[in-house]
Assembly symmetry: C2
Homo-oligomer: 223 residues x 2
């Protein structure tokens, strides 16, 4: 990395890592977990790269942002590297999450089994529909939107998933942020405007298909 004219080398934090690197870290973690589950103890950057479609050099560079995790001549120990990456991503701890919006998508997310393994759990759900409030889905109680503040602060929640209609998303986002949430995963097809200290990840299902559509339309003619 570029050299630190900065007087305090300690400020060269891991947070400076390019977004693309952090994103790939999640891919490495997922594959390493699969590898470990299938009995693989160590793996080289080139083997891992082949499985994921990255170059070996890129994997090594990415990991080198955060430390020296490999063994020359051997590769990386899966269990060790998993622990390191989890620690970098912050998923070595438990993250309680609040879900806002218990529609079709919200219900599916409540029942989704993949969060727990990575350290996340939806511990509370909110909705504006009086018919839903008070019900339980997968043992998770559904609260009214007005209880946001109480739910978030009593359970130490820092992350929210927003799965409400597009028209309500910005209002809901404002509310969860006011309640203390600092990270938002937004499934509504709108760009949220949030204060700078709040992190934002958007997933727009139609947009993902659009990217496929473009790729298909612009592919080598006959291939």
């Amino acid at each position: 990395m570029s050299l630190p004219k900065d007087k305090t080398p300690e400020t060269i934090t891991v947070g400076d890592a390019p977004k693309a690197v952090v994103n790939r870290l999640s891919f490495y973690l997922r594959e390493l977990q699969n590898l470990l589950a299938s009995g693989t103890a160590t793996i080289s950057s080139s083997q891992l790269g082949k499985r994921l479609g990255f170059t070996d050099a890129q994997i090594r560079k990415d990991l080198a942002y955060f430390g020296h995790f490999g063994y020359p001549g051997v590769g990386y120990r899966c269990d060790e590297l998993i622990a390191k990456i989890k620690s970098i991503l912050g998923t070595d701890r438990f993250w309680p999450v609040v879900l806002v919006g218990v529609g079709n998508l919200g219900r599916a997310l409540l029942r989704y089994k993949g969060f727990d393994k990575q350290g996340f759990r939806i511990v509370a759900a909110l909705d504006s529909d009086p018919d839903k409030i008070g019900r339980l889905i997968e043992d998770i109680p559904i609260h009214g939107l007005n209880e946001i503040q109480a739910v978030v602060s009593s359970r130490g929640i820092r992350l929210a998933i927003i799965a409400v209609p597009a028209n309500d998303a910005q209002t809901v986002a404002n509310d969860v942020v006011a309640a203390g949430v600092v990270g938002v995963l937004n499934f509504a097809p709108v760009t949220l405007i949030l204060p700078p200290h709040v992190h934002n990840v958007g997933v727009d299902l139609a947009m993902e298909l659009e990217q496929l559509s473009f790729a298909v339309v612009n592919s080598p003619p006959k291939s």
Copy 2:
């Protein structure tokens, strides 16, 4: 762009556009549709940039990959630019889509209302569970996995959404590709290995939360 030493200028296709550019195109489209719906007829690159968190120059450069769509002194006409971007993304046509896996997530996707507006519709669903086969969800019939070939070819389907458990995803992917699908939107938390002519977009819900977790953990201490 760099100049074409290439003898055949027609080969300078739009397909060469960086992925990041194409991805932003989807953001532009979404915002323009919202703007038009709220009565805005024209918008400048800097106004659009402010709403989306991009710079004005970036928006102009991105659009310039594909043509001259703006009016100096005025900006861009929303309706016109929407049509242009749709044409570039290929969403000016109708895309029938097959869904594989009618679990929690699959059912939510079947009921999701946001696809139609962008040109996509799930026209058939497949599952391996005999109890589900033959049922209708949102007027969509659920077929057995063995009917992939028939469903895909009879309906001219080129895109598939995979929402099956991680262990089944690669097998299902192989099957839909064999049936003629050339674009896969994969919700299973695994990296699929697909032939080069098949395009692949993955959405891993836990991974999205991991990216948030990293951002939160590595934020300016007190902010």
